[in-house]
Structures are given as C-alpha cells and as structure tokens.
C-alpha cells in the first residue's frame, strides 16, 4: 500500500513493472489483512500469553502442569497428523509413547544424551516401529490400522514389562545440554516449548504444501485420490510413520519429565485419552490438538482442586472424588467424546468456527456483497485448513465436511 502514491504518480508504469507481481489494485487493504489474522490467531496469541505468564510467575504447581500439558500437546499433534490430515485412525498413541520413552531413557542413560539427541533417537525408533505396524495395518482401506495398533499396544506393553522385569522402571537423568541442567519444571517447560514450536512449524509448512494436499485428498475420498494417481498406501504410511515419530518424541519428553519410565504409564487408557484430545479439540487442526490436550490433562487437576476445595463443606463429595478420581475422568472423557462425535465433529475448533460465523453473519447483514469478497480472500489467506473460522458456510460445504 505504501507504494500506491508512487504508482499513481508514474501512471501505468507501475503495472508493467516486473518483480512487483500482481497489479497494485488487487493488493489487500490493511483492513483485509487484519481480517485474515482471524480468531484462530487470536486464540494462539492468548495461549502464548498464558504460557508466558505461567513461566514468569514460576508457581511450581502451574509450571508442573504446563510441563505435562506440553508433552501431550506434542502427542496430540502427532496423532492429529494421522487422524486429522490423512483420515486414518490408530489407537497406538500409548504404544508409540512407550517406544519413545524407553528409547529416550536408554539414550539419556548412555551418557551421550545431550538434550535433543534422545528425542531424535526416540523419533527414529518410533518411526521404524510405525513403519512395521503400518505395513500390516495400512495396506487396506478401513479399520485395519485400528486393529493393528490395538495389537501393537499389547505387544509393546508386554515387551516393556518383560524388559523392565522386577526393576520397577528405568530411572532417567534430568535433561541437559552440555553442563546445563534442565531439572526444574520451569526450565524443562521452556525446552518442551521449543520442541513443540519447531515440530508445529515444520508440520504447518508440510500441511500447506503438496503433501498436505495429498493427505487431504486421501482423507476426503481415498478412492478418488487413488484414481487421481496418488499412491494412497504410500502416503498413508508416510503420515503414520511421521505421526508415530512425533508421538514417540512426546514419549521421550514424558520420560524426562517424570524421570522414571515404567510400562504401566502407557496403558490403553492413555491411548484412548490421546484420541479424546484429538477429537475433542478438533481433528484437522493443530490448534484443536493444543486445546484438546490442555483440556484432557487439566481436567484431573481441576477435579482434584474441587476435591480439596469441598473437603470442609462437602466431605462426602470430596472423599468420593478423591477415591474415584481416575474413573470420573474416564466417564467425562467418554461422554464428551460421544457428544463431540454426535454434535460437532470438528470439536472445540469447529464450535468456535460456528460461533464466529454466526457473529460475522450478523455483523455483515446488509453488506452481503462486500462480505462475500472478504470471505473469499480470507479463504485464500487461511490456506487449506478445514473448518477455518470465518469461512462461509458455502465454502465449508464445498470442502465436503
């Protein structure tokens, strides 16, 4: 926009000028650019502020919770790759986290485990296990991957149990880079934050480009994608291997965070709760994975707080809550998962998108033509994200959602 006066001064010369690309008329006005920022980015910003606040306050309880949430954000982002992008379902999250945790623990123990190395090792081994499992489960259309990963869960759990023997678990030293230790929740959270940010930035780039489009095609209609010349098996396998690697990295982070790895952590319940994270947050959106992971992880802590807060006034409720904490969590997860699948299949992000659409439709009543143009532009700016907030209902339908 700053070049406009100059362009006007030199008449048509600016239009022909090479290198500027599009003619100046189509350049988005600042207001339109602002619109392209969208509610999604506002939520991201708010989350970052929240995280920064927790880190600055340095309350040990909150930094501890943050350090756990970040682990599961990574795990959920990994699973969302498979579910939300390639449209495949696995129940192997816990198994891959176990693979990552044990690999990471072994490497960290071995002495040459400066921080990112155990994570990279975990990702490699997790990806390899994913490749083997995917070869059995992904050759066919349908739910065979679900069954293969169910088998993997039991096989990995058993192997981990045998490996562990009577030891009660593997001890993991605190994360370190050279001589610098990251023992406290706060400093480790910073490391986690960097890992999560790097992985998410890489994935966002991947989703925006060719591979992301191919996965989206497979997700929408595998048959049509195959007819269009996509080797669907290979691309599904790629998504599965990648998502396994990311999930295994989350497992390695968990090993560091808890400083003790035991097979009991990585139960089928854990795998189900990671699935709940992906679906409740909103499949097809990394923001959804973040929201889902935060909700699922923070719910038990909040229930605990309710328990202690009501200890004096309602001792019965309090003791019932403390005895049945894990079961109450399960009940809530199961119920919420059903609600999401029945009423808003894109989870919290879909719900947010709906609200934003209603608000925008109200605001733009009477200026329909203008709004339509803006929405079209928005679609281009926001890329190929499903259920992007601010999309027209019409465009959402076009996407086949």
């Amino acid at each position: 926009m700053t070049s406009q006066p100059a362009a006007e001064a030199s008449g048509t010369a600016a239009l022909a000028e090479p290198g500027t690309g599009r003619p100046p008329q189509i350049r988005p006005a600042p207001r339109e650019v602002l619109r392209a920022v969208g509610p999604r980015h506002v939520v991201f910003g708010l989350l970052l502020v929240l995280v920064a606040d927790v880190l600055l306050q340095d309350n040990p309880v909150y930094t501890y919770e943050l350090s756990i949430v970040l682990i599961y954000v990574l795990a959920a982002v990994g699973q969302e790759w498979l579910v939300g992008r390639a449209g495949q379902v696995s129940i192997g999250a816990a198994a891959f986290m176990a693979v990552g945790a044990f690999t990471g623990a072994r490497i960290a123990e071995a002495g040459w485990g400066d921080f990112p190395l155990p994570l990279i090792g975990a990702a490699l081994v997790g990806g390899a296990v994913g490749l083997i499992t995917g070869l059995t489960g992904l050759r066919f259309r349908g739910l065979y991957l679900l069954l293969a990963t169910l088998a993997l869960q039991f096989v990995v759990s058993f192997c981990a149990q045998e490996y562990e023997g009577q030891s009660g678990g593997l001890a993991v030293p605190a994360a370190h880079i050279g001589g610098t230790q990251f023992a406290s929740s706060r400093s480790f959270s910073v490391l986690e934050l960097i890992v999560v940010a790097v992985v998410m930035a890489l994935l966002a780039g991947l989703y925006k480009r060719g591979p992301g489009r191919i996965w989206r095609a497979i997700r929408q209609d595998e048959m049509v994608a195959a007819v269009a010349g996509i080797n669907t098996t290979r691309w599904k396998l790629a998504a599965f291997v990648g998502s396994s690697a990311v999930t295994a990295m989350a497992g390695a982070l968990l090993a560091y965070q808890s400083q003790l790895v035991s097979y009991q952590t990585f139960s089928l319940d854990l795998a189900i709760s990671v699935l709940v994270m992906v679906f409740v947050g909103g499949q097809g959106s990394m923001l959804g994975a973040i929201l889902g992971a935060s909700l699922v992880i923070l719910l038990p802590f909040e229930l605990q707080r309710v328990g202690t807060a009501t200890a004096a006034s309602m001792p019965n409720l309090s003791s019932w809550l403390s005895i049945n904490a894990a079961t109450v969590d399960d009940a809530v997860y199961g119920f919420v998962l059903l609600l999401v699948l029945l009423y808003e299949r894109d989870g919290l992000v879909g719900l947010g998108g709906r609200i934003v659409r209603v608000v925008q439709a109200r605001r733009s009543r009477g200026t329909a033509g203008l709004h339509h143009g803006a929405a079209g532009l928005h679609h281009g700016a926001a890329g190929l994200h499903r259920g992007t907030a601010g999309l027209h209902r019409g465009t959402a339908k076009e996407e086949g959602s």
Binding site: A151, V155, A226, G334
Partner: protein
C-alpha cells in the same frame, strides 16, 4: 496327557466365552458396519447385573435372564441414542464412538459397583471337579458355560437361516438400501442386532463371573481380548466367531501350559498381526478387503 486334558478343557471353556463375545460383534458389524469396542463394556454390565440379582437371592437362571434382558435393552438403547445419529458417518467415527461409549459405560460400572473382585453368593454353581474319565476333569461352571454358548450359537445360526427375522437381518447385512426398498425397517433390525450383541456379551460376562472372582476391569480386558478371535474368524462370519474363539483359546491354553500365563495376550495379539499380514479377511470372512 494331563497337559493335553488341561489344554483341551481350557480351550473349550475360554473359547466359548470368546465366541459369545465375538458373535455379538459379528452381528453388529453385519447389520450396521460398526466395529464395536463396546462388547467388553456390555460384558461388564452382564457380570455386575448378574451379581446384583444373585445378591438379592435370585437363582441362577432368573439372575442370568434378568441381567441379559437388561443389557439387551441397554445395547438397543445405545444404538438408538448414538448410532442411529451416526448412520452414513465414516467408519472410523463410529468405531471411535464405540470406544467413547465403552469408556463411559466401564467408568459408570466401576463408579457404581467399584473395581473390587466380585464374589458371587455361594449358592450358585459349584467349582468342584467332576471326573469325566482319563485325565479329563470339569466342573458345573464349565459345563454351564459350554451349554450356554452352544445354545446361543445354535439359536443364532438357525435363527439367521430359518426365521423371518433372520432373513431380514441377512438382507440388511447384504445391502441395507435394497432391504429398505423392500419395506424392511432397517433401523429396527439394526437395533435388534445391537440388542442381541449386548445379550450375548452379558451371558459371557455372567458365565465368566461364575468361574472366576474378577473385578469389572478384568472382565473389560477380557472383552478386548476377543479382537484377535474376531479378526481370525472374519469380521462378518458367525461360524468364524466360534472357530476364531476356539483357536485363540487354544493358542492361549498352549502358551499358558508350555511358556507361561503372562505370554497369552502377547501370543494372541501377535496372531492378530499375522492374520492382518496374511489373510486380513479372516478364515471365514467374505473378502471385503479393498486394497485401494
């Protein structure tokens, strides 16, 4: 010889339990195309209802029937409330929904009945050994389990082939749209399939509880262990459910005797992976496998 006798009886009894669970899964899959993870949860409810009625002083058969009827109704209700709204949804959505349902049901069962091993009142079937000659021993519970499974399978197989309702179920599983055009109430038939699946799972739960004092989560885990049997038999074959259950039970019994009890789950899931690799449609399943 002792080993052989132990293996054979364990195979028959556990195989019948697995087959009871699997046949319900197969009925649901045939009628609605849903891969259900909820069978274990219905099994839990069969067990805890059975326990509650038995504690009220009801006899074996009334308790069994009452719990089976309750779970029958519960499973049909779950279909009406959840899965009629998910018709036409991608298969993974319905599968995840059954996982949600199972998690919720299991949590409710644990909240109400607690997760302690359940001891039935002593007046039920006895676990005292009955000699059958040779090294073969059995007891009333085992005989009862096998009899229930045999009865259920006879009814299901004959019912599907010979009765009008069975004909409708087969039509719906063949081609739901065509069945609907021919005036069949597909939704009602599917609800019946879900209800029957709940019923067989409830019977399995009660029979399991008669033999072993177990907690709800143990019963639930047993429900999951039916998956290797289901896949081995073929997702859509009733006979396959029976054969798959027996084969998986045989594998379990052999590994228990020769390798160790903790290896049984590992062995059966390894078999599941092998089936996926070599024959994904299972032994008796129609080859619906699509390689696209």
């Amino acid at each position: 010889m002792d080993d052989l006798a132990a293996i054979l009886t364990a195979t028959l009894v556990n195989g019948c339990l697995l087959a009871l669970l699997s046949v319900g899964f197969v009925l649901i899959f045939r009628a609605t195309g849903v891969v259900s993870f909820a069978q274990g949860a219905w099994m839990v409810f069969g067990a805890v209802f059975f326990y509650s009625f038995a504690k009220l002083g009801w006899g074996l058969v009334p308790s069994l029937l009452a719990s089976a009827v309750l779970v029958f109704a519960g499973s049909a209700l779950a279909f009406r409330l959840v899965f009629t709204r998910l018709i036409g949804a991608p298969p993974f959505v319905t599968a995840i929904a059954t996982i949600g349902l199972a998690t919720l049901l299991q949590a409710v069962a644990v909240l109400v009945w607690s997760d302690q091993p359940i001891a039935l009142p002593g007046s039920m079937l006895s676990l005292n050994a009955i000699h059958l000659g040779g090294a073969f021993d059995t007891n009333q519970v085992q005989l009862f389990t096998v009899a229930v499974a045999a009865g259920v399978f006879a009814l299901v197989i004959i019912g599907l082939r010979r009765t009008p309702i069975g004909l409708r179920m087969r039509m719906v599983s063949d081609n739901p749209r065509l069945a609907a055009f021919n005036g069949i109430n597909v939704s009602r038939v599917s609800a019946l399939a879900w209800a029957l699946a709940g019923l067989t799972a409830a019977l399995a739960g009660a029979a399991f509880l008669l033999g072993t004092q177990s907690s709800p989560s143990t019963v639930y885990d047993l429900g999951l262990s039916a998956f290797p049997a289901i896949l081995l038999g073929g997702l859509d074959s009733v006979v396959g459910a029976l054969v798959g259950g027996l084969v998986i039970a045989l594998v379990g019994a052999v590994t228990t005797v020769y390798v160790g009890g903790q290896w049984t789950e590992f062995a059966s899931y390894l078999l599941l992976l092998l089936v996926l690799l070599l024959r994904p449609s299972g032994l008796f399943g129609k080859a619906q496998v699509s390689r696209v």
